[in-house]
Assembly symmetry: C2
Homo-oligomer: 399 residues x 2
């Protein structure tokens, strides 16, 4: 697993991110959707020979128009191009939003000859503002002219919203390559900070193999990244495979590469999450099954009192017990143990000696919770603290 350079302003000449594998081109342009004037439209095109694809979408019931369209596009396992815009989520815009997403596809289809059914669209930005279609369609025309086998980094930059750095990853298999780009600030701000991820590979893989690899990787990475419990209307993770390397890896090799790329992007998302001063990793065990362990980890990771304590470097383990006690998980309430950074602070639901003096002043905090049962349930979750900056960023936003 190797990171691509992401230093702003440094020209990237070697192929990175989604253009690292053979047979993929990408590009970016400034359509003018973002008030900042920064690039806000990107395009990733698979040049074949195969056009296999799979995707995972938001679980939110309120889904943006581009998500509806992309779900239909990927349903047959074939996608040739993914069109991105940032600055406007095209969510909650009613039938006009559906029409606008379709118009983006139609324009791209007319320009490239790719049939509309093989084009996916991803949008991220403010919810409930109609897309400025003159600018958007101008952007579609502009981005087609920017396509290049070195365009991965520019594409990764164009999908950023409140992200402070572009997020890319490359994983090398035996004679084949997997590339990725992502954006989002930890799913913290669905009205501007949707999580979008695009993975590309020159391996040969069936849509079913891609779907299996993507689902298990998402479960282990993005779905364990829970900054504030919010889930965007636009979240989309898509993988495209063209077989240009001539190599068909085993399912295990494919799973492993997709997992590595997703883990890398997830790490970058967590590190760039809005207002983060602490990276908190929660492990829960000692319950009936993994699902219950995850439920307890989520309840803790979303508990504002716990998150404020982390912000304050406060080893307040009582808040851990109070939070997990409300979780939908089997436990022995008299036999819960908690450790911060491997130092026991609570044993058998009672304070350990020196618990109040544990030093949590560093950026990384590991929290280990044992729910007191012998069951095999185990789960891992990444979250962050709740800081002044989080409130600041999210309290003055659309208006």
């Amino acid at each position: 697993m190797s990171l691509s350079p992401t230093t702003p302003g440094v020209p990237v000449t070697k192929p990175t991110g989604v253009t690292a594998p053979k047979g993929f081109v990408a590009g970016a342009t400034t359509a003018g959707i973002k008030p900042s004037g920064k690039s806000d439209m990107a395009l990733v095109v698979n040049q074949g020979p195969h056009f296999n694809a799979a995707a995972v979408f938001t679980r939110n019931r309120v889904v943006a128009s581009p998500v509806k369209l992309s779900k239909a596009a990927v349903a047959d396992g074939q996608v040739r191009a993914v069109l991105y815009n940032s600055g406007n989520a095209n969510a909650c815009n009613g039938k006009q939003g559906d029409k606008d997403a379709q118009a983006m596809v139609d324009e791209l289809a007319a320009l490239t000859g790719i049939v509309g059914q093989d084009i996916a669209v991803c949008s991220t930005g403010l919810i409930g503002e109609p897309l400025p279609m003159n600018k958007t369609l101008g952007g579609v025309r502009g981005v087609v002219g920017q396509l290049s086998s070195e365009g991965g980094h520019a594409a990764a930059e164009a999908i950023m919203t409140t992200d402070t750095v572009a997020k890319e990853a490359v994983v090398h298999g035996g004679g084949w390559t997997l590339g990725a780009m992502g954006k989002g600030v930890g799913m913290m701000a669905p009205s501007l900070a949707t999580m979008l991820v695009c993975l590309t590979t020159d391996a040969a893989a069936t849509p079913a193999a891609l779907q299996q690899a993507l689902h298990s990787a998402c479960d282990a990475t993005f779905n364990t990244l829970d900054i504030d419990g919010s889930t965007s209307t636009n979240d989309t993770v898509i993988i495209l495979a063209n077989g240009a390397s001539g190599i068909e890896p085993s399912q295990e090799e494919l799973d492993d590469a997709v997992l590595k790329a997703c883990a890398d992007i997830a790490d970058q998302l967590q590190a760039d999450a809005e207002g983060v001063t602490k990276r908190v990793k929660i492990t829960v065990e000692g319950t009936t099954d993994d699902a219950q362990a995850l439920a307890a980890a989520r309840t803790l990771g979303r508990d504002n009192l716990f998150k404020c304590a982390m912000f304050g470097s406060d080893p307040n383990w009582g808040r851990v017990l109070a939070a997990v006690g409300m979780a939908d998980a089997d436990m022995d309430p008299e036999n819960i143990s908690v450790a911060f950074n491997n130092q026991p602070v609570c044993i058998n639901s009672t304070g350990a000696p020196g618990a109040r003096e544990v030093d949590l002043s560093g950026i990384d905090i590991d929290v280990h919770v044992h729910l007191g049962l012998n069951g095999p349930g185990r789960a891992f979750l990444r979250t962050t603290d709740l800081s002044h900056q989080y409130v600041e960023i999210n309290s003055a936003y659309s208006s």
Copy 2:
């Protein structure tokens, strides 16, 4: 419904709160459990002739020692005295915590002749610190000497933690009276701010009648007050009835009075919640049943992005849709409507004209959400914004 005076420092001579009904005495003292030196122990005693009681306790699986003891005490529907301490929750102290709670009961029983089985104990304060038993038992001896029919207000002051005002209520029935005291800052800080409520009445009422009235009142009041989704290990609402008025109200009259007193205390809790700059009232309708409407209201009321928008007076209705879209409730995602302060901001899941200009600068914000179905489901929830002060108060606490 009338509020008792709560101005700090003003002597209260007429009976208020829990001593407003006939046949109840209360008192307070400074045991020295609170570092501040403020009063930290209170006692409410029912002088009969009946000693009927009912209670509602925290749903948290991790329960404090006094909660376990009080559950056993009220199980037979008879309670003569409720002993309170603030400054220490006696939670997560293992078997020592159980012994210490029992020692408080034993001391009070020895001093008053009330059998231990008829004594409930409520504690609030830091989790995971052993009770200082010398001070605590000294406090039990001290508080017995302070009992008086005018002691309600002093008791209400002694149970405060981060509360800034004492919270009392009195409701007058036809020839009978219901009094109440409460503490808590909106269930926001379980490690110091448990919600405790004590209701007293000189009406005659069976334990079953009291239980029915208390349960339905709690569902409609305290259980609709959801500041941050946190639930304390110590929450206890208890009602005592002695029949001293000689009047047995109908179930409906009793229900009505208990509801009024609980609503009054709940209003005071919300107004005094930590770091509050906005009081947000959420109404959800247009779904299958009331439980689903409440699930959607809770999901919205706990969503940090929505709460930050409220803090910023930002009519960001997209966050409302993104939040309720994740709720476990039936809805028509294409047909959701939202109004802020009775001004439509979203109609059929699409922005209404002028939505971004709605003025939310006042302290009170009403949010009305219609989930787009014809079902009869309806729910109401009170919450607050997420402010800098919330982070401040809760990030520097135990240490």
